[in-house]
């Protein structure tokens, strides 16, 4: 007898017949009822959960996004110090900037005795401008072209060197003159983009330049701030205006801890704590804060610009009228 026949015989052996059930139908019926009960419970629970979630979603805008009862938050005279401003982290070094990547146009800013040259990256790739620039000047006695050495430290903690610049972003370099009674050099120039860029500084006994650097931009809070102010203000009176803080995002913006803000007009600045009777700016909503600026009787007459910037505790900023930097105002007698 082969193995297949043996297996058939073994499996057909009557010893492998378990006892039947006494009441098989009732037994199975009870099991089916239990299963059906469990299935109904699951369906009912899932339906209840869906109803609760849908209800909560429908009710949420009515409860959480309702504008606060107080629509304008009054000005409070609580002087404050601005937190340290949060700025973009230094970037990793990129490929060195080639001469043709640096634009033909250079422009400048002057702060006191420091002359700052700015030159932009005209390419579509980020590049790095490292180290100081050579300074070229004309020796007054001989008229000869001479190359000078002299280094300046970076002026601000937020200046970042080397200058790794995005397309369109400028790199900066500061140049200062070493004044003396009998100047030896004049017509200083720095070398940028393979050419000499004139630096408008007086003759002196030498010139010094900083390394190329970038000023890291501020980190903005996800808020849009607009100002509504009268077109004129009399000096010696209070300028009263409104600032509206809008949160276009689907999450509330917390005002805890309460931010400070700085307002400037005609070179004068004051810093106060915001009226944080509102604990947050609700999502898809706006809050209006009343502002007050005491314009001194000595303020210069004429057109000027009102600026406003709030700084959250984490250093992020919300700058009013970001597109044009402020609201034009005329100070009158």
């Amino acid at each position: 007898m082969d193995i297949e026949q043996l297996v058939r015989r073994e499996l057909a052996d009557g010893r492998h017949s378990p006892e039947g059930w006494a009441e098989p139908v009732q037994r199975v019926q009870a099991g089916v009822r239990r299963r059906r009960h469990r299935r109904y419970t699951i369906i009912l629970s899932a339906t209840a959960v869906v109803i609760v979630l849908v209800g909560a979603a429908l009710l949420r805008p009515a409860t959480m996004d309702a504008p606060p009862a107080q629509t304008v938050f009054e000005w409070v005279a609580e002087p404050a110090a601005l937190p340290e401003l949060d700025r973009r982290d230094p970037r990793p070094d990129a490929k060195p900037c080639t001469d043709d990547a640096l634009g033909n146009e250079a422009w400048h800013e002057q702060t006191g005795d420091t002359f700052t040259v700015l030159i932009a990256n005209n390419r579509i790739e980020r590049c790095t401008l490292a180290g100081p620039s050579s300074i070229v000047a004309t020796e007054i006695a001989t008229g000869a072209r001479v190359t000078l050495t002299g280094t300046l430290p970076l002026r601000h903690g937020f200046d970042q060197a080397p200058a790794t610049i995005d397309p369109g972003e400028p790199a900066r370099i500061d140049v200062e003159v070493q004044p003396c009674a009998a100047p030896r050099y004049q017509h200083p120039r720095i070398i940028a983009g393979g050419r000499e860029v004139p630096v408008d500084l007086a003759p002196g006994c030498g010139y010094a330049a900083s390394p190329w650097y970038v000023q890291a931009p501020l980190i903005n809070a996800p808020l849009t701030v607009t100002m509504s102010a009268p077109g004129t203000v009399r000096r010696g009176t209070a300028l009263v205006y409104d600032v509206t803080v809008r949160n276009a995002f689907p999450r509330a913006f917390s005002l805890q801890p309460c931010p400070a803000y700085q307002q400037t007009i005609a070179g004068l600045k004051t810093t106060y704590r915001l009226n944080c009777a509102a604990k947050s700016v609700p999502r898809h909503s706006a809050l209006t804060f009343r502002m007050r600026f005491e314009v001194p009787a000595t303020a210069p007459l004429g057109p000027t610009v009102l600026t406003w910037m709030a700084v959250a505790a984490d250093g992020r900023v919300a700058i009013a009228n970001l597109s044009n930097g402020g609201v034009p105002i005329e100070i009158t007698e």
């Binding site: 193995i3 297996v7 499996l11 492998h16 139908v25 199975v28 299963r35």
Partner: protein, 165 residues
Amino acid sequence: MPSWEAPPSFAEYVRDRHRELLRFAYLLSGDEQLAADLVQDALERTGMAWKRVQRTDEPGVYVRRIIVNQYLNRRRALRRERLTDRVPEVVHVDPEPADHGLWQAIRALPRQQRTVLVLRYYDDLSEAQAAAVLGCSVGTVKSNTSRALQKLRDSMRMEAAADGH
């Protein structure tokens, strides 16, 4: 929720076939308690879908397929074992005769191979029918059958050799 009553045709099917199904499940599992659980589970599922089963399928094939699938996946199913307030029936299990070597060898086979043997040599299914119940290819049925038979041959040979000594 209305109380569920077994349709007459289903009640008749359960009465007539449950012993046969218990035996089938016992041959697969080699354990009476487990066989009872497998059959109970399969018949409950069949009862829930009785109208559809009657219309579209052969109930015997449907129930066997459930038993086989539940058996092959029983570790997963055992994790979901539920507690009830009913005391289980006390079952007396006769110990297997120690001299019955072939049955012991069949019980020692891997589950997949033992299932193929039961389908082929107890249920007399063709290789194609067994493949349909198992949800695998005919080739897999053939190879499992072949390996199972070879193991049984080896086992019998070793037993005979041991008896000779």
